[in-house]
Symmetry: C3
Subunit: 346 residues, 3 copies
Amino acid sequence: MTQPSTPTYTLAELAEHLDARLVGDGSRRLNGLATLKDAGPDRLAFLTNPTYLKDLAATAAGAVLLHPEHAAQCPVDRLELDNPYLGYAKLSRLFDPLLSRPPGGIHPSAVVADDARLGEAVEVGPLAVVEAGVELGDGVVVGPGCVIGAGARIGRGSRLHPNVTVCHGVVIGERAILHSGCVIGGDGFGFAHDGDGWHKIAQLGRVVMGDDVEIGSCSSIDRGALEDTRIGNDVKIDSQVQIAHNVQIGDHSALAGCVGIAGSTRVGRYCMLGGGVGLAGHLTICDRVQVTGMSLVTNSIEEPGVYSSGTGAMQNAQWRKNAVRFKQLDEIARRLARLEKRDPQG
Amino acid sequence: MTQPSTPTYTLAELAEHLDARLVGDGSRRLNGLATLKDAGPDRLAFLTNPTYLKDLAATAAGAVLLHPEHAAQCPVDRLELDNPYLGYAKLSRLFDPLLSRPPGGIHPSAVVADDARLGEAVEVGPLAVVEAGVELGDGVVVGPGCVIGAGARIGRGSRLHPNVTVCHGVVIGERAILHSGCVIGGDGFGFAHDGDGWHKIAQLGRVVMGDDVEIGSCSSIDRGALEDTRIGNDVKIDSQVQIAHNVQIGDHSALAGCVGIAGSTRVGRYCMLGGGVGLAGHLTICDRVQVTGMSLVTNSIEEPGVYSSGTGAMQNAQWRKNAVRFKQLDEIARRLARLEKRDPQG
Amino acid sequence: MTQPSTPTYTLAELAEHLDARLVGDGSRRLNGLATLKDAGPDRLAFLTNPTYLKDLAATAAGAVLLHPEHAAQCPVDRLELDNPYLGYAKLSRLFDPLLSRPPGGIHPSAVVADDARLGEAVEVGPLAVVEAGVELGDGVVVGPGCVIGAGARIGRGSRLHPNVTVCHGVVIGERAILHSGCVIGGDGFGFAHDGDGWHKIAQLGRVVMGDDVEIGSCSSIDRGALEDTRIGNDVKIDSQVQIAHNVQIGDHSALAGCVGIAGSTRVGRYCMLGGGVGLAGHLTICDRVQVTGMSLVTNSIEEPGVYSSGTGAMQNAQWRKNAVRFKQLDEIARRLARLEKRDPQG
């Protein structure tokens, strides 16, 4: 692609974009975002976390986005908004150089099947492959080196970063963002045993993803065995995540890096799985469950709430002593019960 | 590739393929597999798990594959087989649209070295690279975007899905299936320290894989430092798995997603590692060992059996109390022993 | 690339390369390295670990690299060096066939932007993409299928194995080694919540890597949200590692396979993280911290040393009993305290 250039906006344009209250010079030009500490006069800073209130008075930012309650302490022009963090998110996209580039069209080195159906303003980058029967909605961007397998469908406004693989028959909704190295629709892990060796079960289902889904770098979502693996709307999946066949993830759930979910497990809506969490197969996790980092879940969860397993790190010498005792834990509990029985005051 | 179309078979053809007992109309045409619940009259359903026996009476499937003991309850045509799950596996491959496509030949956009030796009916997809001295056996399929490094050898009937990387000198057996994004033969992680910084140890070994190996999406198998990393016959490796240098995996073993095996560890035959299991380096794991999900193995295992570590998830509030106590566990055990000593009845 | 051939050296050349003491026939030709057990007369073996001293007397190697203290027991020609393991590392690179190939130039199938600035002796492999504004230093090798995003800079002597993705604006130092499937500069995982759904925070920072960094297969290093994700000099990162946005890794640190580091955490210099270790976000880990495999770190670490969490694997039947007791651990501790209180000798 051509080298992206960073756009600039006036403070008035930014205020209008957010429907925020502007106090100061609306004609001021800003070319990016920065922290209160780092921002210069051409940057918009923001205060979204009271921890950084100490940096407000001395900021050299051109303007600051903040909650009205901190307005009095702001030494420069400002945008006032009830949810400044949400405002920051919305403005950040204005300054993303990738998003302001004009679409690049179909690069002559891309290999696009004759019968692929491409919407308007579609971009297919250099050395990408779009196989037979693929449908790409309006404004879809397929990065360099991507491969879109036969019959896959990608909804309008979706962006595939370089070297993404979408396997045959996969269905991706609108406004998806797929990061480099991710693989959508590889085979699930299914085999029958004949007593001696393994017989592969062909994975005949698809992956079907809703709208507004994001998938991180090097993540993999396996296709279903017979039914489809299903990712709901507005599901956000970080890097290095593995989703096995037939899994279902409910709308608005978020999965941090290195999560692994085994086959046929259903995760509800508005769930949040911390980094490295593992869910065993064939579980049902209800809505609004949060699991903290690196926990292992081996049973279904029926109550919303926060769940955890494991133990935090400690100095190795201390840990060794405790870890050895873990292997005696059942015995310790039995010995304690025996003592209690004998206790004359018990 | 051209868009695959799903093949159809008569019930008699399916019976013959499985050597199963056919009861019903052998001329019935079936175009796919489905669950008892979802199947329509053009689908074959199957009963492989008694849990689903309740769905049998009401199935709308064209026919059902099941064990003879359930034949009497089957309301439609049927195939009887002693191991219906194995039968399902075998039939599933008949219905895989990828497997019924004719080979596509060498795509003009692929870059194939002059001295590469290609067997009969080899397919090299668009924008794939086959470097010097590579050998591809009969019927090998190299998907779009794959790179096969110099001198690598891939046995007949193997299939590489899109965007697979096989590094120089790697040896892959017959009928391998490599899923998108996997990397076979990247460098192992070896460095010498000079007291201040790291000096790379060139990784001069190879990866050598037996026949009938499957490797999942985004998995990586590192080349050996001096000797080879070795993957036995009929080894099945899921997605996001990491195999370090000089590891050996015995025949018929299966590794679920997100497993990590550190350098020089040897895993026996018929082993099964659950999702997210970690094996430390330089261990020997004997045949027929099963390790449950997310367990950490830091010592060699000499007895077949099932092994585990860790603790299951619980509500966070409860977990916090217990996890704190884990740090006191050695002290708790000592205090208990002290009490026991003082116990007059002890 | 053309098929690499293994170089050969005389024993005198190897001695000079290491500044080692040569005892024997300096004109002897050697074409590779091997273990004491496997080496034939055309190989150099080495003794770097006393465990293998037993193999020294019977070695058939052409020569052996060892510490002077073992010289008397060496039955063949030898190179004596105080740090033979470091010597092995240095020699291993002489025998790496990839490193002795002449650079291949710009392959005609590569797509290189007109305004990309390429140093001398740069190699861009088949079907690689180098976007607008990219700078590649002298001797950089870009493997087949790699994509280098707009404006990225890669320092001289760096090597990108096949199918690497370097995203736009990323800065990579000199002599980097990036293995296949790794992704440098994908988006960090940042979203604001509006009470119902997620709003993406554009990731406007970069990844900035120092010199002599190595990144393993299928690893991902996310770009910063506003500031940069920073990887120091001589940092070694294994395969399947995930580094989230805004993380900083100090010089000379090493991260084994499957490590995951959450956002904004800072790791010091000379740290070593074992396989599968997870670091929570916003932590500070001081210099010279070592964390053992699969440990979870949820608090900052201010003292150098070795840290651990978790428990080792045991037989499943035994583990089940102990794991159940873990859920009673706080109650066990309270019951013990109660007994102690009642103890008349307490």
